[in-house]
């Protein structure tokens, strides 16, 4: 399979594909905040989105490829719609049992990795819509979206004219 034929990707979709290692989480965050800042999101919204995408990537780094020999990948697909920014963070790893969330076993497991078991909670709290799909040995994908505050044009560039006294 190759990355060459990209003509059937929807417009306004940006895809970022990264190694699932800790040093790239900030790269995902930086790229996303560059995109979000063009979409008239408030500074607070952008911070929320940054944390949410970080948490999803962090999970892929920490949990998805446990016991894998090869470094896995994270795929981030950002779709800019009129009314929302949708971010899909996907890995191709172990998957997990959604039923485990909130249980004592889960809590113990999180703590072993210095985790608080709060990653998914953060995502749900910070984004407007969240949907998790996970299939054992196929991987996990989290689709999350944030509604855009106002329907302003994609890039409103302010222009000032100060005529000094001549």
């Amino acid at each position: 399979m190759s990355y060459n034929e990209t003509s059937d990707i929807k417009e306004n979709v940006i895809i970022l594909n990264l190694p699932a290692t800790s040093e790239y989480v900030s790269v995902a965050r930086l790229s996303l905040s560059g995109i979000a800042s063009r979409l008239n999101f408030t500074v607070e919204d952008i911070e929320d989105i940054k944390i949410a995408i970080s948490e999803a990537c962090t999970n892929a780094v920490q949990h998805a490829y446990e016991n894998h020999v090869k470094t896995g990948r994270i795929e981030i697909k950002m779709t800019i719609d009129e009314d929302r920014l949708e971010v899909l963070v996907r890995d191709f790893g172990n998957g997990f049992n959604l039923g485990i969330l909130g249980t004592e076993e889960q809590k113990k497991r999180s703590e072993e990795k210095l985790g608080l078991g709060l990653g998914l909670t953060f995502i749900k709290n910070l984004m407007d819509e969240v949907e998790i799909q996970t299939i054992p040995n196929e991987g996990t994908s989290i689709r999350m979206s944030k509604l855009r505050p106002l329907n302003q044009p994609l890039t409103a560039v302010p222009l000032q004219r100060n005529q000094a006294i001549d």
């Binding site: 962090t58 709060l118 953060f122």
Partner: protein, 116 residues
């Protein structure tokens, strides 16, 4: 840029102060964890962490601080967290950490007042 991540350790009135700059995420948490563990070896009573230079922190950063808080709680110690950024205060609130032995304060001076 994350490469600006930086930790500085000092001591005032026998209270260790850990000042952090940059973005705290999964990548530099192990380093933060090492520093905190080292500091807590010498002092298991109280600790000031100054996050005013931190632009970004997520659940892995909170987890690392929570881990130190837990160690301290074994000796009834507390963490004074200097933190004035609304966004960072907000996620500390979502996390529920502020209900344990982690106090949010406005300045190192205020923190020293409390811990003395």
């Amino acid at each position: 840029m994350q490469s600006d991540f930086n930790i500085e350790i000092s001591t005032q009135n026998k209270v260790p102060i850990v000042r952090i700059w940059g973005e705290v995420d999964i990548h530099n948490c192990p380093q933060l964890n090492r520093v905190l563990s080292e500091v807590l070896k010498e002092n298991d009573h109280s600790l000031i962490i100054n996050l005013d230079g931190v632009q970004y922190i997520d659940s892995t950063g909170l987890g690392t601080i929570a881990h130190a808080a837990k160690t301290l709680s074994n000796s009834n110690g507390t963490i004074q967290l200097v933190c004035n950024k609304p966004q960072i205060r907000k996620i500390f609130e979502i996390s529920g950490l502020s209900q344990k032995n982690v106090n949010m304060v406005e300045s190192e001076e205020a923190a020293l007042g409390v811990t003395q």
